[in-house]
């Protein structure tokens, strides 16, 4: 019977073409939007992870309490041994020491007088040890706008916007005026090796990037770090794996209550990123719901029109000996077949579109000028496993729901009435 129905669907274009087109479009849009939102939100989270939060972050309990103030006087000390322990216990993870700091960048003229000045947000990361992990994480090589990456002690990078504001070129010397870990004044001269454009307005505003050893020297933070960030081997943040690391960490470093004892936070617990993660999880369901609803309405109407056109066929089939429920069931079978065909087409097209967006992205940098939030300026899709099946939910459910609603009309017609309509 299924083969018989399939032949009918394939031969009767009026019965199948419109529903297949609707299902294909709906499925394609579902797949495309889910992949795109996965990619966009995932990239936004990753950007935060790379620049600020890590997938997990370790700091002192006191630092955690005042994390918004970036209190380097409460930084972790004895970092070398802590890092060794972390690398041993969590060999799959990548770890990085960080020092965030604030300060004033002073630009002297050739007489040593201040030529220009501006407040800076500083990132102390490892650039010169030979391990390129942090350079890759910050995408520094590709972000260089003018000049080059620091290759010697005493060299720093500056955001292009900031350098323009301060009228600085690569090779110029600047002075960082800040505060040491112990609260005394810090003055340290650097040479600007290059300028960078991250493509994230929040980062491009007024930032400087300094090698970890230079920051330590400037801020008197020998063998100390404000934060240690950790990265899971997964492409995107994986909450389950992050929680496993947290659980293991807490076994190794049980909370002692001391304010300088190390504590751990997941990405979810930082910068309201938990909401964004929840949004990613719910976005697929939301898309599916929206498309199921809208496509069901369209397919309900298409089903009603198709049903009217097929009244004579139903009359014949009743006369031949089918009962209402069997006709209704075959309509559902047909809708399942149409749903499967449409969903396959829609999923393939949606995945191809997503693949294109994954590879090429959509550059909206020009629209994000002045944006303060950290989000990527190139929107990319990300194809996840669920993209291969998520389109089938609205594709199948809406065709079946639409058919079920329109097919109720069959039950409301008496056999003789259908038969008369057949003869009319």
């Amino acid at each position: 019977m299924i083969r018989f129905l399939l032949k009918g669907i394939l031969r009767d274009k009026q019965r199948s073409l419109l529903p297949v087109i609707i299902v294909s479009i709906g499925t394609m849009l579902t797949v495309l939007l889910v992949c795109w939102l996965n990619g966009f939100l995932g990239d936004s989270i990753e950007m935060n992870a790379r620049f600020a939060t890590g997938h997990i972050k370790i700091m002192t309990a006191a630092y955690q309490k005042n994390i918004d103030q970036v209190p380097n006087d409460l930084a972790l000390s004895g970092v070398d041994s802590l890092m060794m322990k972390l690398r041993k216990e969590f060999p799959d993870m990548k770890w990085g020491e960080r020092i965030h700091f604030g300060g004033l960048i002073d630009v002297p003229d050739n007489k040593g007088e201040t030529r220009s000045q501006g407040p800076a947000i500083g990132f102390g990361i490892d650039m010169l040890s030979g391990d390129k992990s942090e350079i890759e994480r910050f995408n520094l090589e590709k972000s260089i706008f003018r000049g080059k990456l620091p290759s010697h002690k005493g060299e720093i990078l500056m955001s292009e916007d900031f350098s323009k504001k301060l009228k600085i070129n690569p090779g110029d010397t600047v002075t960082l005026i800040g505060s040491t870990m112990n609260g005394s004044m810090a003055l340290y001269n650097y040479t600007v090796s290059g300028t960078i454009v991250f493509g994230a307005e929040a980062m491009d505003h007024g930032s400087v990037i300094v090698d970890m050893a230079d920051v330590r020297a400037a801020l008197d933070m020998d063998n100390a770090a404000g934060e240690i960030v950790g990265y899971l081997p997964d492409i995107y943040y994986n909450e389950e794996n992050a929680n496993k690391v947290v659980a293991r960490f807490q076994e190794i470093f049980p909370l002692s209550g001391g304010e300088f004892s190390p504590v751990i936070m997941t990405l979810r617990q930082q910068n309201s990123l938990g909401n964004m993660i929840d949004m990613i999880k719910s976005v697929g369901s939301l898309m599916v719901f929206v498309f199921v609803l809208s496509m069901s309405l369209v397919l309900w109407n298409a089903g009603l029109l198709g049903g009217l056109r097929r009244y004579s066929e139903f009359g014949i089939r009743l006369a031949i000996g089918e009962d209402y429920s069997h006709i209704y069931k075959t309509m559902i079978y047909e809708s399942v077949l149409i749903g499967i065909i449409g969903s396959i087409i829609g999923t393939v097209v949606g995945l191809l579109g997503s693949l294109y967006l994954q590879e090429h992205g959509l550059d909206i940098g020009s629209m994000m000028k002045g944006a303060a939030i950290m989000m990527p300026s190139v929107f990319r899709a990300h194809i996840t496993t669920n993209a291969f099946y998520i389109g089938f939910i609205p594709g199948l459910f809406s065709t079946v729901a639409g058919t079920m609603l329109s097919g109720i009309g069959i039950y409301k017609r008496k056999t003789a009435r259908l038969f008369k309509e057949l003869e009319a």
């Binding site: 004579s312 031949i320 000996g321 089918e322 069997h326 008496k414 056999t415 003789a416 003869e423």
Partner: protein, 232 residues
């Protein structure tokens, strides 16, 4: 060949509600049909012929009285039971053929057997036999749109006969056919009636059909005006 009683109708009334009040289509019909009859219910439009056929075919139910078909009281059957009766023991032939347009000749004839859940081999043999009886073996793969009116009606007869039903109900089967095609299909039906002892009941006012009937029941205003055995 005509023998045991297979349809018994007693005091059958059928009324319909219309905007102008109640309309009585059948008013106290008493009839019996034996196995293997070749009978026509004749009468002008509105005399109740089609309503009577619909009730015998369990497509409709009596308002009053009884219609017993093959031992089953039509008024007491539920939807599934009446569908089962049609599926297994009744065949229908319509004025406008009513073939399923997207299926081939073979598939149209095969459809009633699909509902009976027969296996592929048995189904194929029965369809081919049926098409052979009607001289349609060369049209197996044709679509209904590629056939003439006479050929379409022969396919409809093949579809009605393929499961070898006890009763075939034919409502104005020649109304859309020319004289030559009408005689052709009527001869086919006579042949099938003789060969398989199938009961044929026609609703018609076509003289060509009447010329082939063994028994003619005349209906006027929902009542049997005359019930006569013909000389055919």
């Amino acid at each position: 060949m005509e023998n045991s009683k297979i349809i018994s109708i007693e005091g059958l009334k059928k009324t319909f509600s219309t905007t102008g009040g109640k309309f009585t289509a059948l008013n106290g019909i008493n009839l019996e049909f034996g196995k293997g009859e070749f009978t026509g219910v004749v009468g002008p439009s509105g005399s109740g012929k089609t309503t009577l056929l619909n009730i015998i075919g369990s497509l409709d139910s009596p308002s009053e009285g009884k219609a017993i078909v093959l031992g089953k009281s039509i008024g007491e059957l539920n939807v599934k039971q009446s569908a089962m009766l049609r599926r297994s023991q009744l065949g229908f032939i319509f004025q406008s053929y009513n073939l399923l347009p997207v299926y081939t000749v073979f598939e149209n004839v095969e459809f009633p057997l699909l509902l009976l859940n027969m296996n592929d081999g048995q189904r194929k043999k029965m369809v081919l036999d049926s098409l052979e009886w009607l001289g349609l073996t060369d049209k197996i793969k044709s679509m209904p749109s590629q056939l003439s009116g006479g050929e379409c009606q022969r396919v409809a007869i093949a579809r009605a006969m393929v499961k070898k039903p006890e009763i075939v109900l034919a409502d104005e089967p020649t109304a859309n056919l020319d004289a030559a095609n009408s005689h052709h299909i009527l001869k086919s039906m006579v042949q099938l009636n003789k060969e398989f002892n199938t009961t044929f009941i026609f609703a018609t006012h076509d003289d060509k059909v009447i010329g082939y009937l063994h028994r003619k029941i005349s209906l006027v205003d929902g009542k049997v005006a005359k019930d006569e055995i013909t000389n055919n």
